[in-house]
């Protein structure tokens, strides 16, 4: 089971703050699932520069599932 952050009812930048704190303790092969109603472009920029990889899926209700892992170094 991945760690889940449901940021759909959070005020920006709360989801981003929680995600960054969670990534700090994320170990290799572990996954973090972030749920949002928008595309977190600022987060994507940080993930890219820090070497994380992510996958994004859109649910029918408009929720975006963002699954984040550490990249292979």
């Amino acid at each position: 089971m991945p760690a889940v952050i449901d940021g759909r009812d959070m005020v920006p930048p709360e989801p981003l703050e929680l995600t960054l704190a969670a990534l700090d303790t994320l170990v290799a092969d572990e996954e973090l699932l972030l749920l949002l109603y928008c595309q977190p472009r600022p987060l994507f920029g940080i993930l890219e520069s820090e070497g994380y990889v992510w996958r994004e899926d859109l649910r029918a209700d408009g929720t975006r599932e963002i699954r984040i892992r550490k990249g292979k170094s």
């Binding site: 009812d9 005020v11 920006p12 930048p13 928008c38 472009r41 600022p42 940080i46 820090e50 408009g62």
Partner: protein, 433 residues
């Protein structure tokens, strides 16, 4: 669904901040004019002090804050590519500052030469702003109600300043122009075509995002800017000669549109997904109540001529619209935007795992709430001044104190940003050998 933000094109932090940090101090200047002007300020909308403090608010406070917001909002939320933002902001901001100060002085001194000088500065600065921001909005591939409203707002700003320049020449020279009619059209474009249009366009985006409300209904969001434009077109036609009843009907139609926007926003806030009542939310709600109050007042003033003929009506409406609606709204938004930008820029510097501050550390919520209470107290006093003109001095000082407190809180966020940036840089450099 919430809209998406793109920070790849965001300008350097100093670009919006140079506008945001200066804006509240024009509110201080406007407030401090009241004790000096005394009771005469309330009795006539044409008194030099009222003209000066009105323009300190709309050109000093509102224009600075709204321009700073546009420099941030257009690239980030509307996908527009603003040409050389650092350079343009470095030209615009001091020009606005000097022009606003010169215009207020011109009203107080009754100097036609200074009026012409201030108008020339505003025309130059706003022309640059309209070209640069207008081109960015014109070329953006983004569509939607926000972009449409922002495009119209830029046009509204151009119309307002153009009419202002005509008025400056009209008052400075002796041309026999219908100045009262032009003043009314100028005010209509400034408040409706620029300020309300911009606020509506931005709120379509930020209210659902920051207050967790349902989105504005798409058709209504699209229709409001167009309806406003239509009303302003009709309002402007009075220059060609128009039946007084038509003028009144168009005036009321404009207020009804503003009331519709206010009611819709209050309804959305009532249905927000999380019951947060932070200062930004409360400022926004207060602003909407003031806008609604101004619309109800306008209807009452029209129906009851015994009230409507009283010269103090202009003061009452002016307080509800300017410090009540627009200053409250901007005050609240600054408390969201400034800490958010500080935090975001620091986070990008720090990356994951480094020491980045919590956003709430930028401006403590307790300080925001206290300043908010003082702001709404000043608003109540300013409204009471309509009936007790002797209180004008006290009301002005309290309003000035509230604006100064906002300025201090925003500067505090900038100081916190510098402190944390220094820590991040020191941590990145590693321990001293």
């Amino acid at each position: 669904m919430q809209p998406n933000l793109s920070f790849e094109q965001a300008p350097p932090l100093g670009v919006p901040f140079r506008f945001f940090l200066v804006a509240p101090w024009f509110g201080v200047a406007a407030g401090l004019l009241l004790p000096w002007a005394g009771e005469s300020a309330i009795s006539s909308r044409w008194s030099p002090a009222v003209l000066a403090l009105t323009h300190l608010l709309v050109l000093g406070y509102l224009l600075q804050a709204m321009t700073g917001a546009l420099f941030q909002f257009v690239p980030v939320a509307a996908g527009g590519n603003v040409w050389r933002p650092r350079l343009v902001a470095a030209i615009l901001q001091p020009l606005f500052l000097i022009a606003a100060a010169l215009l207020a002085t011109a009203f107080l001194a009754g100097s036609g030469a200074m009026l012409r000088g201030a108008a020339a500065l505003f025309v130059a600065a706003v022309s640059l702003q309209v070209v640069v921001i207008g081109l960015a909005l014109w070329r953006t591939p983004a569509q939607g109600a926000t972009v449409a409203a922002l495009r119209l707002a830029i046009g509204g700003l151009a119309a307002t300043v153009g009419l202002g320049a005509i008025l400056a020449e009209g008052f400075a020279g002796d041309h026999g122009w219908p100045l009262v009619t032009i003043v009314n059209i100028h005010a209509g474009w400034g408040l409706g075509g620029w300020a309300l249009m911009l606020v509506a366009g931005v709120s379509y985006f930020v209210v659902p995002m920051f207050q967790l409300t349902p989105p504005y209904p798409h058709r209504l969001a699209r229709a409001l800017p167009l309806a406003l434009l239509l009303v302003l077109g009709g309002w402007s036609a009075q220059i060609l000669g128009m039946n007084a009843e038509w003028v009144t009907a168009i005036w009321l139609a404009g207020f009804c549109l503003a009331a519709g926007y206010a009611i819709l926003t209050l309804w959305l806030q009532r249905h927000r997904r999380r019951r947060i009542a932070d200062p930004t939310f409360l400022f926004f709600r207060g602003a909407m109540f003031c806008l609604l109050g101004s619309c109800i007042s306008a209807v009452v003033m029209t129906m009851l001529t015994s009230i409507g003929d009283d010269s103090r009506c202009a003061w009452w409406l002016g307080i509800l619209i300017l410090p009540g609606a627009f200053v409250s709204l901007i005050n609240g938004m600054l408390y969201k935007i400034v800490p958010f930008l500080c935090w975001l820029h620091l986070q990008r510097l720090a990356g994951i795992g480094a020491v980045a501050p919590n956003m709430r550390e930028m401006i403590p919520e307790r300080a925001q709430r206290r300043q908010m209470r003082l702001h709404f107290l000043s608003l109540a006093l300013l409204l009471l001044t309509t009936f007790f003109p002797a209180a004008a001095g006290v009301a002005g000082v309290v309003f000035a104190a509230s604006c100064a407190w906002l300025g201090w809180n925003l500067t505090g966020a900038a100081r916190a940003y510098r402190t944390f940036r220094g820590r991040i840089s020191a941590a990145a450099a590693g321990p001293a050998p």
